[in-house]
Amino acid sequence: MKIHEYQGKQIFQKYGVPVPRGIVVRSPDEAERAAKELGTRVTVVKAQIHAGGRGKGGGVKIAKSPQEAKDYAKQLLGMMLKTIQTGPEGQRVNTLYVEEGLDIEKEYYLGVTLDRATSRITFMASTEGGVEIEVVAHNTPEKILREAVDPAVGFQPYQGRKMAYGLGLTGDSVTKFVKFCKALYDVYIETDASLAEINPVVKLKNGDIVALDSKLNFDDNALFRQKDVVGMRDIAEEDPQEAQAKEHDLAYIALDGNIGCMVNGAGLAMATMDTIKLVGGQPANFLDVGGGASKEKVTAAFKLILADPQVKAVLVNIFGGIMKCDVIAEGVVAAAKEVKLTVPLVVRLEGTNVELGKEILKKSGLAITPADNLRQAAEKAVAAIK
């Protein structure tokens, strides 16, 4: 799960990660008032969308007066902001965050995430603040300092010092950076984050270390114990179909193709998309109905897939293991009838009682194209839309 920058900063503040003063606004007048109230020579007006790359996409403006803050707010609110992460249509800006201007001396990068190779939460710090960390990692990996945290003892001050001196910090800033890192680690652990990234962290002229940005992602598996985090969810930022899928406990991801897929199991679902591409088609989605593939879930899955106007054919690929193929076939037929399916439907069933299952599909009176294996199913689906 993702949240907005301003929400991330609220969490930061709670755990003692220093952030600039800021005010959330939803109208140009509020922006003007906020800039006045902050009272700094300049203020920063920042579009709040979940995607990164907002600065380069024109979603962050420096206002030299409250009037300018108001003008920028007018310009930003309601616009479709396009960044490298939003996709071509962009993301609608509904909320702005107005922040005080600061006297910045230098920018740094600081990120905390899981290193899968070591199964340890790992800090990454770099002097290349404001630059995309992937680019730094690719071009100059030696510029990224790494500190893995032993979960038995948690983040230790020496690790903060190693990074601080490695970044070239001196004097009070070293101690401030160590405290900053410890607080950030607390945020990561206490909120079950999966990524806590600050790009940039800045050193001010007075030596303070401040989080100029915040990017917090959370472990979906841990949301059951993170009620505050769940309360920050912004449905408007999510793909409506993906949100609907979550309601039905389906794993669904929209893609740009025209062949809808319904599969049981994440690996098989991916492999189904891959095979559609392999034979020259384009999958419209990733969809895992889960091991059970019950009638209710299959119906919900059909509705989801067909809500996408691009879908010209549907491929159902189910390996019936514990759940037998005849039961699955009955579910598919009932669901197809309930949603009044009009596009071609290719079904590949395999596993227990497969012959019975195929018989049910045949006798259903629906125009179902059966397939014996995944490649054939993909080929038939591609042929059906040509």
Partner: protein, 298 residues
């Protein structure tokens, strides 16, 4: 012979009275698995299906029923604690089926496992099966398996079943099939299982199935290049997956340009693994690589 589980495997089911636990415990017993105990705190003293004693703790199940392997169907909020209980009780192999355990919980479990005698399989995996020993521990459909010489290791449940089914339909069988799960922090990895298959005299060839995310497949490929003596077929799911999206499994995500299918396929091919272009060709790809290596699978 086989790997991980066999004739001497005595299983305790943690969470045996839950809906998934009881359903699959019964399925495993029908297959022939020696389920010797169940654990549900507060239900100690009861019997499961009239023949399996239920204990309050894993330690009691080990002491009184001689359990040496555990399988966990415990719900996600309590699963990490239950794995640690298995470790504490001296269980040799803990197979965790539970899907959705918080990553931070697993990071702690993984730390405790360092130096412990317990081997963890999973979480979020279908389990382990050795058909020749009639030992099925997990949620896989038992009847598609057949005793044989092919070792299978996979991150994905249903893709494992695909591979198993094709191997069986070609007239071959499996020595052991292992699902290691697709979570970012997990116990046994590809290399651990491949090493076991390499040393197992009954395993003649191996199928390895990976997916996008992380670098476990690349690391396994490097190991295979150096050490593997047996012919291998492989498949990677997610060639068409968009970056930055979690594809069902918590670990199946391409982030920062890392963990793409292309890189994995390249590494595995360079290691001498014959890659199937689609999972429909897993069985035939294996047959081809065995033929080239002059290895008889049936």
């Amino acid at each position: 012979m086989s790997i991980l589980v066999g004739k001497d495997t005595r299983v305790v089911v943690q969470g045996i009275t839950g809906s998934a636990g009881s359903f699959h415990a019964k399925q495993c017993m029908e297959y022939g698995t020696q389920i010797v105990a169940g654990v549900t705190p507060g239900k100690g003293g009861q019997m499961f299906e009239g023949k399996v004693p239920i204990f309050n703790t894993v330690a009691e199940a080990v002491k009184q029923a001689g359990a040496n392997t555990s399988v966990l169907f415990v719900p996600p909020p309590f699963a990490a604690d239950s794995i640690l209980e298995s470790v504490d009780a001296g269980i040799g192999l803990a197979i965790t089926i539970t899907e959705g355990i918080p990553v931070n919980d697993m990071i702690k479990v993984k730390r405790v496992l360092e130096g412990a005698k317990t081997r963890l399989i999973g979480p979020n995996c279908p389990g382990v099966i050795t058909p020749a020993a009639k030992c099925k521990i997990g949620i896989m459909p038992g009847h598609i398996h057949r005793p044989g010489k092919v070792g299978i290791v996979s991150k994905s449940g249903t893709l494992t079943y695909e591979a198993v089914f094709q191997v069986t339909n070609l007239g071959f069988g499996q020595s052991t099939a292992v699902g290691i799960g697709g979570d970012p922090v997990h116990g046994t990895n590809f290399i651990d299982v491949l090493d076991l298959f390499n040393k197992d005299p009954e395993t003649e060839a191996v199928i390895m199935i990976g997916e996008i995310g992380g670098s476990a497949e690349e690391e396994a490929a490097a190991w295979v290049k150096k050490n593997m003596k047996k012919p291998m077929a492989g498949f990677i799911a997610g060639v068409s997956a968009p970056p930055g999206k979690r594809m069902g499994h918590a670990g199946a995500i391409i982030s920062g340009g890392k963990g793409t299918a292309g890189e994995k396929i390249k590494a595995m091919t360079e290691a001498g693994i014959l890659m199937a272009a689609s999972p429909a060709e897993l069985g035939t790809t294996l047959a081809e690589v065995a033929r080239r290596a002059n290895v008889k699978l049936a």
